[in-house]
Symmetry: C2
Amino acid sequence: MTSMLDRQTSTEQALSQRVFNFSPGPAVLPVPVLQEIQRDLLALPGAGSSVLEISHRSESFDAILAEAEANLRELLDVPEGYRVLFLQGGALLQFSMIPINLLGGQGLPASYIVTGTWGRKAAVEARREGRVHVAWDDADGNYVRVPNAGELDLPEASSYVHYTSNETIQGVQFRRPPEAGGSPLVCDVSSDFLSGPVDVSKFGLLYACAQKNAGPAGLTVVIVSDWLLERSGSDLHSMLSFRLQAEKGSRLNTPNVFGVYVFLLVTRWLRDEIGGLAAAAARAEAKTGLIYEVLDADGGEFYVPHAEPASRSHMNVTFRLRRTELEPAFVAAAADRGLVALKGHRSVGGFRASLYNAMPMEGAERLRDFMLEFRATH
Amino acid sequence: MTSMLDRQTSTEQALSQRVFNFSPGPAVLPVPVLQEIQRDLLALPGAGSSVLEISHRSESFDAILAEAEANLRELLDVPEGYRVLFLQGGALLQFSMIPINLLGGQGLPASYIVTGTWGRKAAVEARREGRVHVAWDDADGNYVRVPNAGELDLPEASSYVHYTSNETIQGVQFRRPPEAGGSPLVCDVSSDFLSGPVDVSKFGLLYACAQKNAGPAGLTVVIVSDWLLERSGSDLHSMLSFRLQAEKGSRLNTPNVFGVYVFLLVTRWLRDEIGGLAAAAARAEAKTGLIYEVLDADGGEFYVPHAEPASRSHMNVTFRLRRTELEPAFVAAAADRGLVALKGHRSVGGFRASLYNAMPMEGAERLRDFMLEFRATH
């Protein structure tokens, strides 16, 4: 047992050790959420056990699951006729589950709009299940933007139209959903989930891994319309069937109990501390705006932004240095100032500053100040 | 911020609130493990972030993953030529991944030995991929025992022979692996994983969900031989391919970082506090022995054990009351004494006391005392 004084010291030390973590995911979580997890870790109030020890059939978890879903429905204004599923396996398993459940039996190709790495990977998995039509792919353009309405090459009908609302690696984001020409719209919202309002009624299915804005790694949230769920075959592998997962209310087997609990705490924080998704969107725009301002003011002389202005992400800001040989020094100097995980994905290089909901404004300000300072001194 | 005094009180209160949790899973975890998670929740030493926020590509997680695997290899004495995978989706996803990877292309059926609910479910999923031969199924006998060597109806060769080392719901456990007649042995060790030594070299593949003896829900551990891995097709859905998961060292996509971290702490505790798996086995036998003694001394007059003595589980003790109408009173009176989650699975009824590694001897003693008292007063 540690003494009172030790504990006092250790909490203060822990908070003082915390850096500004710009990791693209797993990513920064709200400090009040971490503190609540910490406070109740030995015994969840009323449960007599840690949240890590409670049965997924317990009353405690019934309440957690119900509130997690209710909060999500409130935040995103999810209409009637949509189911919320808490699954495992990340977006990559969804890349497979979506065509496994929705592509076969339609006699129609699935159309994929590819604006970066994740959309491309999604299409690779879909091809294992049937015909895939690529409606747009900016590989030649190095994935710096989303398509305009007129650029999409969509067939008359698709079993569904898939796109990625925010490409984490390239830092390219749709401002509004593309027109799917009447086919069901399916969207990977992993890296901008809960960062702003979404008109869910426009979608057949939305999915997100939690480890960006919504919780820890190991939890995947799927919002699926009843009418699309009808397509899910009854002879699929149980764990891969949307229909079975929905019928069993996300408890076909033991879900990631802790992940759902953290998700619940994050949604409470979003509602009560941030003020909902419109406020979150304004905050995200303000934070990334600080960094984009530096990039724009520079005019490409020192910093080179990756994404075109109209397609810039409000979650992941991607840029390089004109003098790429200075990039290691940038990373090292940033880390000295407690600004970490800024290195870009190896496929793009340079830097990526991920400014999810839980990144405080101060983190964005510190990064801006550092970028100005680094330019001035180099 | 809470004051020092509040924190002191809250830790003592939390510990005093803790009940003896006999849940079959998610299940009790070692208190020192929970305390370490709690202590470091705001900032993992050296990381500057919570373990819930660190990248799965960070040096911190490199170290966690490496030590988790090393500890498992040490505890189970895993030989060369086996890979350890940290996956998601629970045993139910393994019920599918195993036939998806290992059943096709062999021209041989997969043989399933069914000693309870989980083995039966595993066979259901395997049938989606190919021929399944049931080598033994005790459904008519109500799953009270494991088969004798002579009872297995095995074909000359099987693509693999699958069994469940411990049936959590029925409380039936194999004392030693069945003879597979030269075919690869595949075992669901979910509910007795890390409860005692296992000769891994006898197996082609072992798998376990973590939420019994090894960690929180949302993590699955697979130990697979290189020679069996060779069968895993190269055109499978990425997330379902053992080969790809092995090639990418469990980081094909973002793994359950927190789950691996807790697994690491549990394996340290098993080694340093329990003294390894032989000691864990002796402890499990001693704890369940206290309960089986009550059942045996009673001679079936008041308490009715489910499993036959030679097949009794050292993890999950299953029994009923002769007068089943008293069962709700038993559950309520036990809960009054802080002995919770004793209700049996709805398919078997009665009671199930799960006494995993983290259940202290005191929990077993309290349950024994309560059972004696309840019999005396009814």
